[in-house]
Symmetry: C2
Subunit: 146 residues, 2 copies
DNA sequence: CAGAGGTCGCTAGCCGGGAAATGACTTGAC
DNA sequence: GTCAAGTCATTTCCCGGCTAGCGACCTCTG
């Protein structure tokens, strides 16, 4: 068994548990913060664009956006020029969450990296970036496995 | 916004995509491999024990085990002495997957760590272990956030 | 022995994920 | 102008995740 994958899987599930609980404290489901984060940076994006940024598929974002719309965090409007496109816009409630969620994320970072010195945390980020790039390449160019 | 959390989230989703595709190639859903891995190590465990090992909740394992039972990978039996307990046992098909899945995990590890030297990979595992321990502690002792 | 407290699995409902399929729309070639 | 190809969102279905709640069973205490 791959020890790396064991460690990675365990860390992933635990980190997910922490971030899930944190998002719930603000009335969000884990994942919705990614939609909001994308719109805080650039309001009015399409589901497809957000999906690409968040490394998920469009149906996932469409479904989330519908729930977030029902919850009053975003509104959905058709694009002016291309009737295929929907654009998501923040409501006041959606914008108001920016401070609390960003603070929460900083707080989570501090908790997760407690006991690591600055260089260790920086190295972790660099290596995780490399792992992410490797995974991205793998998804883009799957092994033909016969 | 926490750059660490951005990097971590992105890596997590991409790694999940790679492992999900790999498990599907063997007829598994991502997560079922964790149940199998637990039983490969110690056949006959209870859903609660597997859930604790896998860092998920018991209902998750119960639901997965029911599907895996229907798929012929495990069988469910009541414990001889304590009628509250169910124990999951591997079928031949479940046991036969050990080689392919373990090889697959080693292959994924190689892909994800490509370009990292041995010391970097080792350091990553050590730091991820620390992150996991921190997250675990956080889940066990939640911040009272009023 | 009786009952309270604890343990276990289970169900139901909600959620974010993906794959597959579909309809609506836009663009480009002829 | 027409039509094929491409693009986009949407829906449906299945899945693994969680919380909340419940019943069945076991253990411990008085």
């Amino acid at each position: 068994m791959s020890e790396f994958m064991d460690v990675y899987t365990r860390a992933s599930k635990l980190v997910r548990g922490v971030t899930d609980a944190a998002m719930r404290r603000h009335g969000l489901h884990l994942g919705q913060n990614l939609v909001l984060a994308a719109l805080w940076e650039a309001d009015g994006q399409t589901p497809g664009a957000i999906a690409a940024t968040a490394e998920v598929t469009t149906p996932t974002i469409v479904k989330m956006a519908n729930r977030m719309s029902a919850a009053g965090l975003v509104v959905r409007r058709r694009d002016d020029r291309d009737n295929r496109l929907v654009r998501l816009y923040l409501t006041d409630a959606g914008r108001a969450l920016r401070g609390p969620i960003e603070n929460e994320m900083k707080s989570i970072e501090a908790q997760l990296t407690a006991g690591l010195d600055e260089s260790e945390a920086k190295a972790l980020m660099a290596v995780l970036g490399r792992v992410a790039d490797n995974a991205r390449a793998q998804l883009a160019d799957p092994v033909i496995d016969c």
